[in-house]
Symmetry: C2
Subunit: 359 residues, 2 copies
């Protein structure tokens, strides 16, 4: 009658931080970034079929906690993510995240995963994937302004996906730059510490800004940006947080993920609500044009969208059988008779029932 251990239906695979690191290291980070790009590109190409909701945000004085749900009609996914700028000073991560995939047909979760590392991977992959459509042909050098937690992921994603061989690093904190140079020293990419943004941008075809300033900031001013570059703007990602001077936006062709969200959170919060922008999925499907000339400045105003997390979770789900790096969690109550939840609890109490502990 009773199940001796929780049945298969009760179980949801869980990928811990430790197992996520094992997945990254067993596949190899560059290979993983390249494979993940295929998942993200596939989902961007079927953009229209997704349920797209703006994030559900709970704001407080200290930061924000957000839920980011989406669905392609067969699979449902959501990410929990916080953003607390002051966390770093207190020894906590600014951003932590976890996520879930579930079957739309029965609502059962099929994956529960850490997403702090996975978000870093998907952000870098999305940046590089978009740059493959927008950056000048044969770009070899990227300037990386802001050398925090996202920096090395960006460098390796652009190496793996766009063929970059040099990254010029600058951060107002030299220790951050030194950390990045050290971490990238054996990764097959030339990582050069620079003493100013200008120095970092010299000779770069791609400029990535990824700073953590909470307030409106001007990491790049108009006179710093020459023609023909691709700007990958990562750091401006919440209301009141931007990195680029408005004049740069006006000189650029702007590409975004999901305009209703980007107009609130991205660099374009500095522009009018009807300012013309191009949705990047339309470039990928061929509906819209990407780079139109060598002299054009292209700007990816990236804020991160739920579909990218969905793609990343899909990718990790597909790696479970390949790597085995997960454990099963007894998350779903699975009584023999679905109407007999109470009886299941009663029987768990009775040692003669044969119900044993699984976790």
């Amino acid at each position: 009658m009773t199940n001796p251990i929780p049945s298969k239906l009760a179980m949801v695979p869980f990928v811990s931080v430790d197992n996520m690191m094992k997945i990254v290291n067993s596949i190899g980070i560059e290979k993983l970034l390249g494979e993940l790009a295929i998942y993200i590109e596939d989902d961007f190409k079927r953009w229209e079929i997704f349920d797209k909701t703006p994030r559900v945000a709970a704001h407080s004085a200290e930061g924000v906690i957000e839920l980011m749900p989406t669905s392609d009609g067969e699979v449902y996914g959501f990410k929990y993510v916080n953003g607390h700028p002051k966390n770093q000073q207190e020894g906590f991560q600014t951003v932590t995240a976890f996520g879930v995939l579930a079957k739309v047909s029965n609502g059962y979760p099929v994956l529960f995963s850490e997403m702090t590392i996975l978000t870093a991977l998907r952000t870098a992959t999305t940046s590089a994937l978009v740059a493959r459509y927008l950056a000048p042909k044969n770009s070899k050098t990227m300037a990386m302004i802001g050398n925090g937690a996202q920096c090395e992921f960006q460098a390796l994603a652009f190496k793996a996906i766009c063929g970059i061989d040099t990254v010029n690093l600058y951060d107002i904190d030299q220790k951050a730059t030194a950390k990045a140079v050290k971490n990238l020293s054996d990764q097959g990419i030339k990582a050069i510490a620079c003493s100013s943004s200008e120095e970092a941008m010299s000779g770069a075809q791609i400029i990535t800004t990824c700073t953590a300033d909470k307030q409106y900031a001007t990491i790049l001013t108009d006179n710093m940006v020459g023609s023909g570059v691709h700007i990958n703007a990562i750091g401006g990602d919440c209301p009141g947080k931007t990195e680029l001077h408005r004049d740069i936006l006006l000189r650029s062709e702007i590409f975004v993920e999901y305009p209703p969200q980007t107009r609130i959170e991205g660099e374009i919060q500095q522009l009018d609500d009807d300012y013309q922008v191009t949705e990047i999925w339309q470039v990928m499907t061929g509906i819209a044009e990407g780079r139109q000339s060598e002299s054009q400045i292209t700007l990816f105003d990236s804020v991160g969208f739920a579909i990218e997390d969905f793609s990343a979770l899909r990718y990790i789900l597909d790696q479970l059988s390949r790597t085995g790096n997960y454990i099963d969690l007894d998350l779903i109550a699975d009584p023999d008779d679905t109407r007999d939840l109470f009886g299941m609890i009663q029987r768990a109490q009775d040692p003669s029932s044969g119900v044993s502990s699984a976790s």
Copy 2:
């Protein structure tokens, strides 16, 4: 330099289904229901300070997947819950759920828990708690129409919280009634199988309807309901799903959790959008009156609200040290240097770094 095992900061307590059953059985279900009522009542009494969002629902042909977030300014919580009426036929639970509590100040999760069982507990507790304010004094008998997964929890919550000693059971499926009679046989409550709703309601001061019909149904018609009773309507909880004839609503004083949600999901979807209803938290705080006369019919049009889940998760969090029934999950990436996420992954690869596997 590196942490030999994931640090304390990386860990989030997880309560599995198995551990939730252990918590229920070690505390004792009636004692637990009584204690949980205190948490729910406390939170209803500070209703105004909560962030209240309608659920974020993803509808499909087969069912719905919902996220239910709320926050009291210090603690944030959300529940993931599905509702798939056809699941039961296929051996799956109609409703499964899990939930999270997190600190608003830094966004870190502090509890991850199964909530299929916990939702059953909090629904029954809320029903009984509300009945303590609304039901006729010295109610001893409850009619229970619909004897599915929620049935025994309702019976025991009304026993523990309202002092009910008899429950008259009726279900269109006699097997469901037989299951409930058997499960309640040694619980110190008289459980009587009835052959019709009318028989079950005979002599009952409290009428609980908890059927699973998806369509508009009329479990109770007007002529079946005498004066002076309290109706606890649980089953009408989504658009298109109601249990009571509209005429009963018109004869009753109606109490609800959160009007914007109940008007969409509850029995009152049959009434005009401005039909007068009373928020139950106002009865608990003394702002509004509850039962006003012996002959009045009071109706709790219950759909379940995020704050009840929040209270339930708070209660479980407080039981962890008491019962020890949880495991720690390595959910939060916790590098020594918060900017060095990449370095953490690299070091995990290098066996000489001393990083070991924890999960």
